[in-house]
């Protein structure tokens, strides 16, 4: 396919187009991904996740500049949330990536998550393949930043940085299943703020259980906006990169991630194609109305919808 050839030759416009096609879920787009796929796997994918306002975009900006200085070709995929009330989105991450924009050959793409669970969009991995095919060596993925359930980002990334600030809550929040389980590296950003040292201690304590693991999650203090701690973060990323290469369980972890990812994508497609099949049908609308009227409970409604969806025609 012409589009794929152009991307492999480094044509930005074609890469941008293909990413849109994947976002729209076009068959042509997926065909192109299949053709591109054998040429991928060279890039290193680094994810940055954490709460809104924690400083993810700023950290991505600084990392892009650092990798650019080392001569690396950098791509960024910045995912922002689609409005819960509709299909619209405000994609504002570029505003904080002005330094990254100056990096030679950088490609930055904003992306709305379009309802996909787990902190990324369904098209994010596809976009990473495109940037890999375009010749980018380091791809930085910034997650939506919705908080505790951004598990999907770790499925598509080689290394994940979780960004906290001192106001994440308390020890109890950390003990809940969530963000801290996703990352390979923890950053306490805005470390000059009161409470940051205590936060770092709490987080280190809650990471005690990973002490006997082959990779001990490091905690890095940063003031990202001033550029403080960027070198430390770069050094730790390098260590993690080496760790993955030498990790005896590395391959089985990778296989496990891929399985998880295929299942997540399958779930998404199954849901949207099933909904398409039954939407607008009288029987389906009737069930919805019964639930809306309060004559049946929502669990019952789902049972009835499942029956409708699974019966042929």
């Amino acid at each position: 396919m012409e589009l794929v050839k152009k991307i492999l030759r480094g044509d930005e416009g074609s890469a941008a187009r293909l990413i849109s096609m994947i976002e729209e879920g076009l068959d042509e787009g997926y065909k192109a991904v299949s053709l591109l796929f054998p040429h991928t796997g060279k890039a290193r994918i680094i994810g940055v996740t954490g709460a809104p306002g924690a400083g993810k975009s700023t950290i991505v900006d600084k990392l892009a500049v650092s990798y650019g200085r080392q001569g690396g070709k950098v791509g960024i995929i910045a995912v922002d949330p689609t409005s819960a009330k509709g299909s619209g989105a405000f994609l504002g991450d570029r505003v904080r990536m002005r330094n990254a924009e100056k990096v030679e050959g950088i490609f930055i793409r904003s992306m709305a998550h379009r309802g996909f669970p787990g902190g990324i969009a369904k098209a994010t991995l596809g976009a990473a393949y495109v940037l890999d095919g375009l010749g980018k060596e380091v791809i930085l993925v910034e997650s939506v930043g919705a908080g505790q359930t951004e598990i999907q980002i770790s499925m598509i990334c080689d290394s994940v940085i979780t960004v906290f600030t001192s106001d994440y809550g308390d020890e109890i929040q950390l003990m809940k299943a969530g963000l801290i389980e996703i990352g390979d590296i923890v950053v306490i950003n805005k470390a000059d703020r009161p409470g940051a040292i205590e936060a770092a201690k709490d987080i280190e304590f809650s990471l005690m259980s990973s002490k006997d693991q082959p990779w001990q999650i490091p905690v890095i203090a940063m003031e990202a906006r001033k550029g403080k701690g960027v070198e430390d973060l770069m050094a730790v990323l390098e260590l993690h990169h080496k760790h993955i290469k030498n990790d005896a369980q590395g391959n089985s972890k990778k296989r496990e991630k891929m399985k998880h990812l295929v299942l997540a994508l399958f779930k998404e497609d199954l849901w949207s194609s099933t909904l398409k099949k039954i939407q607008g049908k009288t029987a389906f609308e009737e069930v919805l109305q019964k639930a809306q009227n309060g004559t049946i409970d929502p669990y019952k409604a789902v049972q009835m919808v499942m029956d409708l969806a699974l019966t042929k025609k």
Partner: protein, 134 residues
């Protein structure tokens, strides 16, 4: 899988003026109308704006200009658009635009001009109808 193409819009602030309240209000309204809006931030050069439009693969570029330099800025934008080969992008302009300049902007290739005070619904409707055609 998705039934219809989502409209993606770049709202850009070229040049020196530091007033982005209007641009943000429009961006918010377009978002609420179901569009995906990339916001450029302040003080952008035309080169940067066109670069962003390419990488983001937007359907529409909206310029918000309050400096009075809307004609030369728009001229330069269309030059760059031709150079980069992205002539399929639709362009609209908002901000402080005297009505006498509207015909000139349209001649340059601007699809719609929405000076400050234009009802948001008008801008939204315009973008929706234009993008359906494309």
């Amino acid at each position: 899988m998705e039934n219809k193409k989502t409209v993606k819009v770049l709202i850009a602030k070229p040049g020196l003026d530091g007033h982005d309240r209007g641009a943000k209000v429009v961006a918010q309204a377009l978002k609420e109308a179901g569009m995906e809006v990339v916001y450029s931030g302040l003080h952008r050069t035309i080169d940067q704006i066109v670069n962003i439009a390419v990488q983001e693969d937007v359907d529409v570029i909206g310029l918000s200009i309050m400096t009075g330099a809307h004609i030369p800025i728009t001229q330069k934008l269309f030059q760059k658009i031709k150079q980069k080969g992205i002539v399929d992008k639709m362009v609209f302009v908002g901000g402080v635009i005297p009505s006498k300049d509207v015909p000139t902007l349209k001649e340059l290739g601007v699809a719609g001009v929405f000076p400050g005070g234009t009802p948001l619904a008008e801008t939204i409707q315009f973008l929706q109808s234009i993008s359906k055609k494309g």
